[in-house]
Symmetry: C2
Subunit: 326 residues, 2 copies
């Protein structure tokens, strides 16, 4: 019997996670009975869920809010909520308040329940905990030296997660997501937006701008793979000894260049969509992207059974299946 | 003209730093005019200081206290204050409140001064940010995966220091001190106490207990070297580009085994003191010490001019010079 709590349930990954949970009806082999969905705005319940769903809107960083969320003693907590990179850089105080203090309030609320309560907490971290210069492939022992406030906040939350786990207050797994691609929806102004945009817009018959050169390499996972990571992390229960005290794992992904993305688009959808990609180099974006990780050796996560997408073609097909009208 | 602030000025390293500053009268080539000494108890002013000294006792983690300390706009701030490892493990809340929140309050107080105020902040971190398993020598790119709450709090503060520096709110240098040896004073109950005890007690004609085997290797610096690191870090001003965005540096030290410590004691003080070391293996201490770093490749710090002691004999002679009656 599983009572689950999803914090950040209104976001893209949260919504896809809930669709999947509603479809499966179970988590780690045991039936889901209740789900509490939390976000700063009330999340929409998934369609056709066989379990009870409660939607809650509040500011997690306010005193007492986290306590309310854990009062029902959920056995699995997905903590996906965050101010994104650009906003955390633009609003220093808000980033720390939500990404660091909000997370700490959650962990503290769990600790204060006491009486042996020790939920599995799946925390979404990010490859933004890493900052250049990088080795050819970032392994599981490479330092976290973030170059953004967002990355700093995620790295600090990772440290808390490991310490709270080591002390026995919760049972945490932090998963560092690759850049999620293809993101559905409208283009946004994130510096990383073009990685999805050059696939998504052409498949919708629209022009996309490519602001960097085609040799730019980056680390990707589909939304479906990201949901797979979350479910796998939730179900790793009982393998504490195997995971050990380092509770934060770089997720496997695909390291591809922009040229390889475009070649995959041609193979999946023919030449026409790729012609809608307009090269318009943007020095500001090129400079930002230069500081980003390109490739990882995610050995620990692979050994623990986390699975990346098979190819960038598969990533494109997943987008088409899930988001395009048939 | 230097106005300096020393937080944690009543501790052993703080007192030795102040003796040295009083003796030098200057820091980084410019005269010291004022020094504010802060601790949870009022620090004793150094003897023969040519600069104005103000002693302040307060709890840095309380709202508003850090603001008072930075109101005078010190140009150099040494932040040495911390709840030590054993106490941070025993009192979870106090460790986070002092070591994390206290440090954050200080950085926030500096940020809120604004108007271009950007002091050099020298923060003492620790090799406790690292946790086993280790490579043969821990290099500057090895991850922080602490195995104590103290190490976690120091690692989180390091991340803050780098982010506040990157954002231009302060100009921070974090220095990860080796185990300071020989610590003067009475034996304490710290698990690491024997590293100093097996030198200090015999030199004072007293018996010392060695609870581990002689092949245990560890990373040491004298109190004099530690003060040297602090002064060098304070004077690195203007070299921001050379330091880069990774503002936390593992200090150079000496990697020696207990057998090498004892051999050095014999060379410096003859055979008699070494006979006062009683072997009494303690499985609990042996287990703790097994999780500690043994050796580092502190290349970045060496390249930036930080200097370790020349030998363990020198470490012993420094203790004798500074602490034993002539």
């Amino acid at each position: 019997m599983n009572r689950i709590l999803v914090i950040g349930a209104a976001g893209m990954v949260g919504r896809k996670l809930l669709q999947r949970l509603a479809q499966d009806g179970s988590l780690g082999g045991s039936q889901i009975t209740h789900a509490t969905l939390h976000d700063i705005v009330a999340p929409r319940p998934p369609r056709n869920a066989a379990f009870q769903v409660r939607s809650v809107a509040s500011d997690l960083s306010l005193a007492g809010e986290a306590d309310k969320l854990v009062a029902g003693r959920p056995s699995v907590i997905f903590h996906l909520a965050a101010i994104v990179s650009g906003e955390a850089e633009a609003d220093f105080e808000k980033g720390y308040r939500v990404n660091l203090d909000g997370t700490r309030q959650l962990f503290e609320a769990i600790r204060k329940v006491g009486a042996g309560y020790k939920p599995r907490v799946v925390f979404t971290s990010s490859i933004a905990v890493f900052g250049a210069p990088f080795p050819g492939a970032i392994d599981d022992e490479f330092l976290s030296a973030p170059l953004t406030s967002y990355g700093t906040q995620k790295a600090m939350a990772e440290l808390l997660l490991s310490d709270y786990t080591r002390r026995g207050f919760l049972d945490g797994i932090g998963i560092r997501l690759p850049t999620v691609c293809v993101r559905p929806g409208k283009p946004n102004r994130a510096a990383s937006g073009f990685f999805s945009g050059i696939i998504r817009e052409p498949l919708n018959g629209q022009e996309a701008v490519l602001p960097v050169s085609e040799d730019v390499r980056h680390w990707h996972a589909s939304p479906r793979a990201a949901v797979g990571f979350l479910l796998h992390a939730a179900a790793l229960a009982g393998e504490g000894e195997r995971i050990g005290p380092r509770r934060n794992l770089t997720m496997p992904g695909l390291s591809v260049t922009v040229a390889e993305q475009i070649a995959a688009l041609r193979r999946v959808a023919g030449d026409a969509p790729a012609r809608l990609i307009r090269r318009e180099p943007d020095p500001a974006i090129m400079r930002i992207v230069k500081g980003w990780p390109q490739n990882f050796d995610a050995r620990r996560a692979r050994e623990l059974g986390f699975q990346a997408d098979a190819s960038f073609e598969e990533i494109i097909r997943i987008y088409m299946e899930e988001e395009l009208p048939a």
